[in-house]
């Protein structure tokens, strides 16, 4: 079938309209250097403006410093910010590159047909927004208002969400749920009646034992957690890392358990067995707060370390020793719930096992375990009620995934592919700040869904792959150039942070709030945007909590008093948990009601066949997904990913360090680009590893085009979590190829 919507490289176009050439950085740097003749007379007296970072979801608050020419020079953490304590991570420090990246989207674009060939033409803002408005109105007339969906990651999503809700659609999804932390939230809600949320309520600072299962803190640069892990190391905490790869965290650990991939549940059940069998659990806590201990005890009776050894390859004495180490530290112990946990399709159950283990150790609500987070309650201006949609994406799911507490990005994507069983076919997508091509697994399915749409509007700062499939592209200015809603973070102390522009937007880019409000105007939804500018709205909100925009512009971050209960449970305190039984449910009544195993069960997952290796992916500290791949400062630190190969495997295949090879997965998908081999003992012989977010296929991303392999391209086998619809992505196997010639099928 000829595709209706071609992938268009934006490159050919906007080059002509370039205002700033590639030489900007060089000339800026040399100007500063020339004027700064002495080492001792640096340009110090910068004016500073507050911001919170948009390079990842941790949203650290900081200060943007400018040089004497009014150009952004550096970004430094705000000392008062509990998320970063004055220390930005490499991505936040390198955030300046988001502003200076000369490959940014520069002006609105509309897809058009010229001599039978699809292309983009530059458009005015009014024209681009009118295009979107007329399309969503048409979709509403023909199919219903709920048939336009929003995919969002990042600050701008809120404003488009407001437009969509006002319009009558609740199909608003973020890939941070079903492709990332969703199973964790569902598992902890099922167990404790509340999720983990972000930043995680892990009390790492005061823990005596930190257990990481596949979580690679230090490589994932979740700033507060990295800082606290370092504090914990200083205080002599025991770290236990379970990972088939010798991660950075593993290298800081007293115990590294090099587990066979996909067998974590067996290890967790076996730990429970030891802790219950040796009576190491917190008896008072379990008796007072939990439900279903006897059933759990019976359930794990046969899951001995010897049983688990056969499955996990972790020696029984190591399983016992680590279980005892956890119990010894309890309740100041954290079996960390991780963050990106959509691995094998039984992820909610694996995270349930993590939640249960924490309950046995009595760590939930205890110092050094999990604290009770608090979040500032900042009143929002009262908006008229949103119309109630007749249908949502859930109607297209046939009653599945009832326990998902947020919309599934993959579910909305599925609901865009019309089939006889689906009754909510989505016809329009608005995509804000998420490169769905590299975010959702099974690229073919994503592109198929896109082909069936009547509208794809993309808001981004960079010409990411998703923009190439768009009908309309709206260039957002970067976070250093705009106001956004207040950051309202949960934490030990509630805090709010302000983002304001340090400089004017470059090119013809605009803030998302402005775009959404202009769109709302065209859809007669201005009642949902009573303030003309976001800063007026923020000022109103700040005044409700005894601050003001003026104050926040000076301080950037404000810590507020805790409003709710204490950080930890008091000794013997009566607690009502928000579960069916009011207790911590070791035995889940909610899962049982929905027809799922009330206690986690280990099931065997497929293993790689001869010559194939399990594809494991992860993070590098200097990059966030594919978002930073073209950032000049961060690309300078890491410009491509590599595939980690165990020396035994390398020998078998005669692979050398730094050699470039292609990868092919179990479904015959060959990588678009070659990837550098890294021969290293740090990875098991049955797996390979790569950092996510590379292998970009859009030439307009000049620095990162064709650099490395996109793990997402290799993920075609998706194992859906039956409980909440998470997309398990670690059941893909790859082999090595020395060319990328496509084999004829």
């Amino acid at each position: 079938m000829k595709s209706r919507r071609q992938f268009i490289k934006i490159s050919s176009l906007s080059a002509a309209g370039l205002i700033f050439g590639g030489g900007l950085l060089d000339s800026l740097a040399s100007t500063i250097l020339k004027e700064n003749q002495s080492y001792f007379k640096g340009p110090f007296d910068f004016t500073r403006t507050p911001t919170y970072c948009e390079v990842c979801f941790w949203k650290c608050a900081g200060w943007v410093y400018k040089d004497e020419n009014g150009k952004i020079k550096k970004i430094i953490g705000n000392d008062d910010d509990p998320n970063c304590n004055g220390r930005f991570c490499p991505r936040g420090t390198g955030g300046v590159g988001m502003h200076y990246d000369e490959d940014r989207l520069k002006t609105p674009l509309i897809r058009t047909e010229e001599r039978g060939k699809q292309t983009f033409r530059e458009a005015s803002w009014d024209e681009a927004l009118e295009y979107i408005a007329s399309k969503v109105k048409k979709i509403k007339e023909e199919h219903g208002p709920e048939c336009t969906a929003l995919f969002s990651h990042g600050s701008g999503g809120k404003y488009f969400g407001r437009v969509l809700k006002g319009f009558g659609s609740r199909n608003i999804a973020a890939p941070s749920y079903a492709q990332c932390r969703g199973p964790r939230e569902v598992a902890f809600i099922a167990t404790y009646g509340s999720g983990i949320n972000s930043p995680e309520n892990t009390d790492i600072r005061d823990t005596k034992c930190l257990v990481l299962i596949g979580a690679h803190i230090g490589e994932n640069m979740h700033n507060g957690q990295v800082q606290e892990m370092s504090d914990a190391i200083d205080k002599g905490a025991t770290i236990i890392t379970v990972d088939p790869r010798f991660s950075t965290a593993a290298s800081k650990s007293k115990f590294w358990l090099p587990i066979k991939p996909a067998t974590d549940i067996a290890l967790l059940l076996s730990w429970m067995h030891v802790i219950i069998n040796e009576e190491l659990y917190d008896k008072k806590y379990v008796e007072k707060y939990t439900y279903g201990f006897d059933q759990l005890k019976a359930h794990v009776k046969n899951f001995t370390p010897e049983w688990a050894y056969g499955i996990t390859t972790i020696k029984p004495d190591q399983i016992r020793e680590t279980a005892r180490a956890m119990a010894h530290a309890a309740p100041a112990v954290i079996v960390h719930p991780g963050r990106h946990v959509t691995w094998y399709g039984d992820d909610t159950q694996r995270l349930r096992a993590v939640a249960i283990l924490n309950a046995l150790l009595g760590s939930w609500g205890r110092r050094g375990g999990f604290y009770n987070p608090d979040k500032a309650s900042v009143p929002h201006y009262h908006l008229p009620p949103y119309p109630k949609p007749e249908k949502t994406w859930r109607d297209a799911m046939g009653g599945k995934y009832a326990l998902a507490d947020l919309a599934l990005a993959s579910g909305v994507c599925d609901a865009s592919i019309p089939t006889p069983e689906l009754d909510c076919s989505i016809r329009g997508w608005i995509v804000n700040g998420t490169n769905l091509i590299n975010t959702l697994p099974d690229q073919k399915k994503t592109i198929d869904a896109i082909q069936k749409l009547d509208l794809l509007a993309v808001i981004d700062t960079m010409p990411m792959e998703i923009t190439g499939y768009a009908d309309v592209v709206l260039p957002e200015c970067v976070y250093l150039e705009r106001y956004d809603s207040l950051r309202i973070s949960q934490g030990r102390e509630p805090s709010i942070a302000l983002r304001m522009p340090a400089v004017d937007p470059l090119y013809n880019s605009k803030p998302a709030y402005w775009m959404a409000r202009e769109l709302a105007k065209k859809l007669d939804l201005l009642e949902y945007f009573p303030f003309e500018t976001i800063e007026e709205e923020i000022d109103w909100e700040l005044k409700q909590v005894g601050s003001s925009l003026k104050e926040m512009q000076k301080i950037g971050v404000k810590r507020l008093e805790r409003e709710v209960d204490d950080l930890y449970f008091a000794d013997g305190e009566d607690i009502e948990f928000n579960t069916n039984t009011g207790k911590i449910e070791l035995y889940s009544t909610a899962l049982e009601e929905e027809g799922f195993d009330p206690m986690p069960v280990y099931t065997q997952h497929p293993e790689p066949s001869e010559g194939f290796y399990r594809l494991i992916y992860g993070r590098a500290p200097m990059h966030t997904f594919s978002r930073t791949a073209n950032n000049p400062n961060l690309t300078d630190l890491m410009s491509e990913n590599s595939v980690w190969v165990n020396p035994k495997v390398a020998k078998e295949w005669d692979l050398q360090n730094d050699q470039y090879i292609y990868l092919e997965n179990q479904d015959g998908v060959v990588s678009d680009f070659p990837i550098k081999v890294r021969v290293t003992e740090r990875i098991r012989w049955d797996s390979v590893y790569m950092v996510h977010g590379f292998g970009h296929a859009d030439k307009r991303l000049k620095r990162c085009f064709g650099k490395g392999v996109s793990d997402t391209q290799m993920i075609t086998n998706v194992m859906i979590d039956p409980i909440m619809g998470g997309t398990g992505m670690r059941g893909n196997f790859v082999t090595f190829r020395f060319d990328n010639k496509k084999t004829e099928v």
Partner: protein, 177 residues
Amino acid sequence: MRYAMAIDTKKCVGCSDCVVACQTENNVPIGYCRDWVVEVMDGTYPQLEIELRSERCNHCENSPCVRCCPTGASHYADGGIVLVTKNECIGCSACIASCPYDARYVHPDGYVDKCTFCLHRVKKGMQPACVAVCPTKCMYFGDLDDPRSDVSKILKKRKHKTLIPEAGTKPQLYFLI
């Protein structure tokens, strides 16, 4: 006064924040760096060890770069910090060849550039940019002659080493092990 830096290899996660913070603080052009991260791995799966180190100029007490500089551009400044006066530097690169730590590079503007321990910040009572930004707080900076300085205290408490001590340059960059 004797400025020195200690880096805790047990806490460093190799994130390279020190590198990018130095670049933005000191206008180091993209593609160059005054500090960098080294990962040393030892062993066979699953008996492995990794040492992570943020490295830079060692501000040696007996610096071959200062000795070999024909113009005197490379010199000792306050507290033993080794500096290059760029308008006296002719870019001959003799210092680059003499440095056992490979800590210097030729700036695109033609002079030799390197870590200054952020003396411009230190003079204002601030920490070097790399130390101030490090999320793991694995770096300690200060005056070794002052027993109350962060660096003096940590070196007293912890086992440490220097790199290539056999070169006899008396490096002032210490690694906690």
